[in-house]
Amino acid sequence: MSVLSTGIRMTTPATIARVNPVAKLAVALTLSIALLLSIDWVSATVALACEAVLLPFCGLNLRQFLLRTTPVWIAAPFAGVTTVLYGQDSGMVLWQWGFLSVTDGSLSLGVAIALRVLAIGLPGVVLFASTDPTDLADGLAQILHLPARFVLGGLAGLRLVGLFLEDWRALGMARRARGVGDGRGILGGVTRTLSQAFALLVLSVRRGSKLATAMEAKGFGSTITRTWARPSRLHPRDGVVLGIGVLIAAAAITMAIAAGTWHFVLS
């Protein structure tokens, strides 16, 4: 599973990697919900500032951090600029060209969006890059009591995703060898990709059903009550992490209300 399992666990024993995945999930959800309730720059800035203070304590070095969070750093300005240009206009018009317009309102909205993407995305990536999928599944089933069948089925399926890349390449080569690898124009390229994607689907379903047989043969899905080889429990440190998450969310909302920028999205 080259793509998915190279969590930080494998490279450095980061502090954050020892936190129970369920606690991490709760923190990520709390922050996301708190920051999605309002779109304003104060709440996002406060959350981001708190996170900036905490990130060095996660046990990730700068290089690892930047590598893993690259998509977020690209997405944030992109979302911001898009909102500035196309977002709801209000206030003074600063610049206009055809459909594109920059106003006071769209500018502050854009800044708020970009900050928000960072404030939700950065901790999200840090929390999940340090999470092993197996540990998350253990937590979901043992602490949240989600049905083991679905959790473990999903986990086993996830392992097959790692084989996709290899299969995709093999299929591409096979098509080239069979004489159907020349895409003529854009349409040809699209048709070729679609039919190759379908072949990948067929291959994956076949492999999935073989895996299901192997799991069934190992007693999976029987009526016996399952035990767990890796007990997943919540420790005091998980409470601390969750507490920090709640505090950041509360601080962000309080400051935004105090500053008068709070703008409840559903109102």
Binding site: S2, S5, M173, G181, D182, L203, M215, K218, I224
Partner: protein, 477 residues
């Protein structure tokens, strides 16, 4: 109906080799014993009675363990230890007991790896031993092995066979193994049962007894029996001196470009080749020495990682010197590639359509295409299967079809990646006859293989790859 009218008693502690022609229902029987046959709504219905310890298989989960053929689709979890523990967890074994059993069974199969080793990094033989350890940890009374070594290279086969033997020693565990290479299991088993494709049992008894009586008939049905090896093809040798040179390599390095990287990682180097019409070149070497990568590079499917690989005029026919630069359609009539896994190269829903893909892409007319396809269907004994879905064919039929699809466009060079892997002796014999026929017609054949018998039977030249920084060494034949 896959299996019918079968009356059979297997006593505790017996080690059974289950034989039968392909299609005799060996796998079906073993799946039924494991209780993983989908019942009457999905996979058809069952008549009669099948009892393990006097109970139905579905009710005795954990008493029966199953190891299947494909190493990749049996690994459930990402870490070695977790994967072995998976079966125990499902059986409700106490946690402390689980880890005790995990280390015990990993030891039994000789897999002394740290428990957090990523299961994706294991070789095929190691993955099969991992599957075996997972089964042993469940402490089954009956071990079922469904062609556990068919997808492995010779070293892997021995690795797995020995692991099974070691884990059975001193226990009263019953074992049933399906395998068409008799030599591998002969000394491990004490009973051989031959299924009759028409229902019931053909022979049942000690290995010597059964193979002595039924050996010749079984060999004719595709079972590998050392005393009755498949016939080797006879070739009308062309003088390779006058044969036209098709492809040449000097100091060639091959490698693959990893995901999101720009430069290939070289896996083999120092390769010199001289491929001529009507002659065969077999590439051998241990796992991981870059045999498949070399095949794909020669086939124009991977770019050259260094050195020279030149398609000479007799092969290129105006398409340029570098096969990798050719268009897919140019490749079609010049170099044909048979992949290790036939399923990767199937494109259509019926055998007939599958065979028409090549001629159609090469721009042949309808009538011509039909004529070519009809001829191939008959020659490769696929005519009864013309409207079958390629994915539903047996292993041997899939292999024949994958070769036939390539022959349909009459390429000047055939590149084959492990063409005889996991094949029964009948398919092996047919395949070799077909390759010999192609060679006699002046087609060049290049194959990478672990199969010593294939090399002995057909190779004009052998190139042995060794791990880097070693170079490829031609073997004097």
């Amino acid at each position: 109906m896959a299996v019918s009218d079968l009356d059979l008693d297997i006593e505790p502690g017996e080690r059974v080799l289950l034989l039968g022609a392909s299609g005799a229902g060996k796998s079906t029987l073993v799946h039924a014993l494991a209780g993983v046959l989908g019942g009457d709504q999905e996979d058809g219905d069952a008549q009669g009675e099948l009892l393990i310890d006097g109970r139905r298989p579905g009710e005795s989960r954990g008493r029966v363990g199953l190891v299947l053929q494909d190493p990749d689709s049996q690994v459930v979890l990402a870490r070695v230890g977790d994967d072995v523990a998976f079966g125990c967890e499902n059986l409700g074994v106490r946690q402390e007991e689980i880890w005790h059993r995990v280390s015990e069974s990993l030891q039994a199969v000789g897999l002394g790896l740290p428990l957090d080793t990523a299961s994706s990094t294991l070789s095929g033989g190691q993955k099969q031993r991992l599957a075996l350890a997972g089964m042993l940890a469940m402490k089954p009374g009956l071990m079922l092995l469904d062609e556990p070594t068919a997808n492995l290279d010779p070293d892997g086969v021995i690795e797995v066979r020995d692991a099974v033997e070691r884990s059975l020693r001193g226990t009263d565990v019953t074992m049933i193994v399906i395998e068409h290479r008799v030599a591998v299991w002969r000394d491990v088993v004490n009973r051989v049962i031959v299924l009759n494709p028409r229902g019931g049992i053909l022979a049942d008894g000690s290995a010597e007894d059964v193979l002595g009586r039924e050996g010749e008939r079984l060999a004719a049905q595709g079972v590998w029996i050392p005393e009755f090896p498949p016939a080797r093809p006879v070739r009308q040798r062309m003088s390779t001196e006058i044969a036209q040179p098709l492809m040449a390599a000097a100091g060639l390095r091959v490698g693959r470009i990893p995901f999101a990287a720009r430069r290939p990682v070289v896996v083999a180097g120092g390769i010199d080749l001289d491929i001529r019409a009507g002659s065969s070149t077999m590439v051998t070497g241990a796992n991981g020495t870059g045999k498949s990568t070399l095949a794909l590079t020669m086939a124009g499917l991977l770019p050259v990682a260094g050195g020279e690989l030149t398609a000479l005029p007799a092969l290129a026919r105006g398409a340029g010197k570098r096969p990798h630069r050719w268009k897919s359609r140019q490749l079609l009539t010049r170099i044909g590639t048979v992949f290790q896994d036939p399923e990767h190269q199937f494109l259509r829903a019926t055998v007939r359509d599958e065979l028409s893909v090549g001629p159609h892409a090469a721009g042949l007319g309808r009538e011509q295409t039909v004529a070519i396809v009809d001829e191939l269907l008959v020659r490769l004994h696929l005519d009864d299967l013309a409207s079958a879905n390629p994915f539903t064919l047996s292993g041997g039929e899939k292999r024949r079809l994958s070769v036939a699809t390539v022959l349909a466009t009459r390429p000047s060079l055939l590149v084959l990646d492990e063409p005889t892997f996991g094949q029964d002796s009948r398919t092996w014999q047919e395949l070799l006859a077909l390759l010999a026929e192609q060679l006699d017609r002046g087609t060049a054949v290049a194959a990478v293989t672990h199969d010593r018998e294939l090399v002995d039977a057909l190779a004009d030249h052998e190139l042995h790859l060794s791990p880097l920084p070693g170079a490829a060494v031609p073997v004097i034949r």
